[in-house]
Symmetry: C2
Subunit: 297 residues, 2 copies
């Protein structure tokens, strides 16, 4: 892993580097470099052309400069979602690898090479903050449809799934600074990485080959730039969210802060809570207190 | 390991950094930082003073500027001995960790945190090149004696041992450039790292506490700067080498390029070859063709 990370680090700024130079910079023999590149080429659009190692610009986040954003691309970091807290408004942090990636409820988030692990930091009006998870779910579904023609769904509350397997997730955290809210939006997309655990998938696996990541990153950033506008029509968002919610009418296994049970997901209310029914008794599940949910059928 | 490496990397230039800043730079939570520092403090003179993480300057190779040398201090690299090839004459490369460290005969060299893993690049007169291993063995023994009052010995050909356990090793590689020889001298010293494998030890283990590494690095660099002068009295060097050679009169297990056997080490000749005797028959062992040797008594 360290050899791969060092090579990516030496490659990202210029997108290409000679084998000899790479050998001297990494302190690896030419054969070791070749072997490591071969490994990298399973998760990156990186190849060796003669004596030059090349990273396809469309797969290298260091090559894009989204308008109006300060973008930072690092190879390895604890968690982009922690580090983004120290950056200015309208910052993006993309990492190739997180060694301490974070998911919801303090859970870990496996962030192997080849995925897209991104955090955004931007100000929003406080009233829109709690619609962001809904909007972002729709945005990700639209991106997968537009770029790959994929039909993705939503596993309540905000996992993006394809054929019931998780392909993307998000974590939204906010801080108030006087009367604006600063949100740190973390998005993880399994692009060219191996699906990290059972029940997950990746674009590479679905499409059957490596896909360049920058079109996804650019599109996502474009949508997030226009977040305030998207959030205006809240009713339409909620109806789209409901249309894509694959959890409805399914039997689910539920872990909350206080209990564990199985039930049937029957509805969703206007605040986004999931209504489940067990033995004729209805119960509301709130995302903040629901640690885990699994589809059973 | 990645968390430790990132913290060292953020700490090395200034030698101290606030916990909050470190958290934002590494993308790790404050608790994760504290925990990682606690791990680091087992192999480094690093501690937390209030909200500031501090690395004792005498243990941080980034703080020293040996006269006449270009010194580079990196946290992690494949092998300093490969990377030094791309540097100018009179360069030093110190790494906290090598993920592809090299020993003699293409063997690996475990290079954990807390040790001293150094490569030097300098020009020498061709005739002195083959005396360097002998001189460097003496130099290391003198350093261990002067700084720690330790009596170290030499396990043929160039391992430095204390109580028959390896504490330091070297690899000498050369290139001719017209009529001078450029040598890349690699030295590995188990200082505050855990002894990597059975049969090895470290200064921390012998002394019973962490020791600052810069006095060792500075002293070693001073000796290597004067290498040409040291090498003049070759006879004295050879006699000192023989005096410290703990392999003599021991039974040894030997692996050469062509055979494996046990014998008794009886002498050393003027070229540094070890003379062993088996069933009354004497045999010369050359360092270049002897892959492995082990003391049996």
């Amino acid at each position: 892993l360290l050899a791969k990370l060092t090579i990516l680090d030496n490659l990202k700024e210029t997108g290409k580097i000679g084998l000899e130079e790479l050998s001297l910079k990494t302190g690896l023999l030419r054969e070791q470099i070749m072997q490591t590149i071969q490994g990298l080429s399973k998760t990156y659009l990186i190849n060796i052309d003669g004596d030059i190692v090349k990273w396809l610009p469309a797969d290298n986040p260091s090559t894009i400069r989204p308008w109006g954003w300060n973008i930072n691309h690092v190879v390895s970091i604890g968690s982009t979602q922690i580090a983004i807290r120290g950056m200015g408004l309208w910052s993006i942090l993309v990492a190739e690898h997180q060694y301490s990636g974070r998911g919801r409820h303090g859970k870990g988030w496996i962030s192997d090479l080849g995925g897209l692990w991104i955090s955004y930091r931007l100000p929003v009006k406080p009233w829109v903050a709690n619609v962001i998870p809904i909007a972002l779910s729709i945005i990700l579904i639209k991106i997968f449809e537009q770029i790959f023609g994929l039909k993705a769904g939503i596993k309540w509350p905000n996992d993006i799934v394809v054929n019931d397997k998780k392909i993307a997730g998000m974590i939204i955290e906010g801080e108030y600074v006087s009367d604006t809210m600063i949100v740190n939006i973390g998005v993880g997309i399994n692009v060219n990485n191996e699906p990290p655990i059972p029940g997950t998938t990746s674009l590479k696996k679905i499409v059957g080959k490596l896909v360049p990541r920058n079109p996804i990153l650019a599109s996502l950033t474009g949508w997030i730039s226009r977040l305030d506008k998207i959030l205006i029509d809240r009713e339409q968002l909620e109806s789209m969210y409901r249309d894509h919610l694959v959890t409805l009418n399914r039997r689910v296994y539920v872990e909350t802060l206080t209990e564990v049970f199985e039930a049937k997901a029957v509805d969703i209310d206007e605040s986004g809570d999931l209504i489940v029914e067990k033995n004729g008794i209805k119960k509301k599940l709130n995302p903040l207190t629901t640690l885990r949910i699994r589809h059973l059928d």
